[in-house]
């Protein structure tokens, strides 16, 4: 079985011989077309660019964008009927920055509708299948991006993470996925779900492959008032592979939780590997962890109900046929345009914001969010990183949870706290539960993406889980 090429090797090959980039792009397009009936990882394919070997840090690198990022002149759907015919009038900052670095977009990756889901089954364009077992979900909401990288369709893909939408599918598909600190990457041109939580990130096979992609995406942007005005470190240069003396905390609340047995064993083995590499592992207490699920599922829907109010069938997006009056136009356009899960979250969000319930739900959740963030602040006073399972178990069967929202929401239980606090976190492949991948979550202090990437890189120099490829997609 051949080892996948690293992004550093791919890019240096394109710089030395630009025509090889064109050949690679054609080969990736062919692989996408062959896989689509099995995986449904893309919503649309883009053949407009044949090469972009410009000598940049991602020279000629084929990528996919999650279909939540606006791409000028191309369909941008957010996985929704509401935007099924929407053609974006500009590029998201993430899209333009990656193109400037030399990346070539081959299309738009499938996703849960408006990034609301943990299985990629809420997409208007159909579910995505997990390349490791096509009867299973790839995770969500960035399920198409994760499945595409796992299947080797592209070396890297963008994603977004509001409560785990990069880390959970990365874990379930056996690839590396990083959600940077809130504010590290511009949200301009990224269709909004929950604005105090949404953050762009990326998928690739390894931490070393994620480093140059994140480096090209990150940084200040005058078009986003919430992006941090801080210099971006040279992430590839931070990958020394040396973690001797690093202190890794194991939050006991994550390990006391119910975790599938083989997943738990893989995580424990991975932690012993970190110890063998010279890290010091200690237990830490994060007492408000169990409040994250409730807190998130109040705050995120509240913000979503506000953000999605803009879809009214008037200025853009789906409009119902033959409205009888303006109220009928609004109500039927939104009922037809939004899927069931999106409607549930809008209704939940509006309810927790309504008079009489605001203090009991929304304001209360804002206070418990502070307690959760304080747990991270205190933990990072004594440890350099935290390590946890990324998910309670491996990929589950398509259709097995979609009709039970509260069961589905519980898939995010280990990824939600870092989202609420805004700290960076990543999932790295850490073994298998049967034939399905397991992800280890590493969480760092605010703006310490370099530390996270280096820890992941050190682990991946000592293990080969990130090089494993699903049968049939080698």
């Amino acid at each position: 079985m051949s080892q996948p090429e690293t992004i550093a090797d791919i890019v240096s090959g394109h710089i030395a011989s630009p025509d090889t980039a064109k050949e690679r792009i054609q080969a990736c397009h062919a692989k996408i077309e062959r896989s689509q009936s099995q995986l449904n990882a893309l919503i649309s394919q883009d053949h407009s660019a044949s090469n972009n070997a410009n000598g940049g840090s991602l020279s000629g690198l084929p990528i996919l964008h999650k279909d939540l990022f606006c791409t000028d002149g191309q369909a941008t759907t957010a996985g929704s009927r509401m935007l099924a015919n929407f053609v974006a009038p500009y590029d998201a900052t993430v899209v333009s920055r990656l193109a400037k670095a030399g990346a070539v977009s081959l299309g738009k990756a499938n996703m849960d509708e408006f990034a609301m889901g943990s299985s990629n089954e809420t997409s208007y364009f159909g579910a995505v299948a997990n390349p490791w077992d096509t009867s299973c979900v790839p995770g969500g909401s960035s399920g198409g991006s994760a499945a595409a990288v796992a299947a080797g369709l592209v070396p890297a893909a963008t994603g977004t993470d509001t409560g785990g939408s990069i880390r959970q599918p990365a874990a379930l598909c056996g690839v590396t996925g990083i959600k940077p600190t809130y504010g590290r990457v511009s949200r301009f041109g990224m269709i909004a779900f929950a604005s105090s939580l949404d953050q762009a990130g990326c998928f690739a096979r390894s931490a070393a492959d994620c480093a140059p992609v994140l480096g090209a995406m990150a940084g200040f942007d005058p078009n986003d008032s919430t992006v941090a005005d801080q210099p971006v470190p040279n992430y590839p240069a931070a990958l020394t592979g040396d973690i001797n003396g690093l202190t890794i905390g194991l939050p006991r609340q994550y390990f006391d939780a119910e975790v599938e047995a083989e997943t738990a064993r893989a995580i424990q083995t991975a932690i012993r590997e970190f110890e063998a590499l010279g890290a010091q592992v200690v237990d830490v207490d994060m007492p408000h962890t169990d409040l994250a699920l409730s807190t998130y599922y109040i705050i995120a829907p509240a913000e979503a109900s506000s953000n999605l109010a803009r879809y009214d069938g008037v200025r853009y997006g789906h409009r119902c046929e033959n409205p009888t009056d303006l109220t009928d136009l609004y109500e039927r356009s939104r009922a037809e345009g939004f899927g069931r899960e999106v409607q549930r979250r809008i209704l939940t969000g509006a309810y927790v914001l309504s008079a009489g319930y605001y203090d009991a739900y929304y304001r209360k959740a804002q206070r418990t969010r502070r307690l959760i963030a304080n747990d991270f602040q205190q933990a990072f006073e004594s440890v350099d990183l935290l390590a946890t399972p990324a998910t309670p178990g491996p990929a589950f069967k398509l259709g097995s949870q979609i009709d039970n929202p509260t069961t589905m929401y519980a898939n995010d239980v280990f990824t939600l706290p870092a989202s609420l606090a805004g700290v960076p976190a990543m999932s790295v492949p850490a073994g298998f539960a049967g034939h399905l991948p397991v992800g280890l979550q590493l969480i760092g202090p605010w703006f310490e993406e370099s530390r996270l990437l280096n820890a992941g890189h050190a682990f991946q120099q000592a293990t080969d889980w990130h090089t494993r490829q699903p049968p049939g997609f080698e």
Binding site: H288, D312, P323, I346, A350, Y351, Y361, R367, T368, N404
Partner: protein, 95 residues
């Protein structure tokens, strides 16, 4: 907390989402399950805890307060389901 059918109808109307009568009961059951998750928060003492609206202590950046030409309305109106002569068309509001 249990949401009833009338709660669903009221919140759907406020959100301008049409929910057919046959779907109201199922929506109430699903939302009640979701609200059941939130009960855990009621037991937590958050006295004197400052609400956290945002993960970063950012100061809002403002651009210079000067008018700039609007040049993209034509582009944006090409996205509209029904626009004409620079205006968005909707069903008649006033009879």
């Amino acid at each position: 907390m249990t949401l009833h059918n009338d709660d669903v109808r009221a919140i759907a109307a406020l959100n301008r989402i049409r929910i057919e009568d046959r779907d109201v009961e199922a929506t109430a059951v699903a939302l009640s399950g979701i609200f059941g998750l939130f009960d855990a928060l009621a037991q937590v003492d958050t006295t004197d805890v400052k609400p956290m609206a945002h993960p970063l202590d950012l100061v809002a950046r403002l651009r210079p307060d000067r008018a700039e030409p609007v040049t993209q309305s034509g582009t944006y109106q090409t996205l509209a389901p029904d626009a004409d002569d620079g205006l968005y068309r909707v069903p008649k509001v006033i009879g």
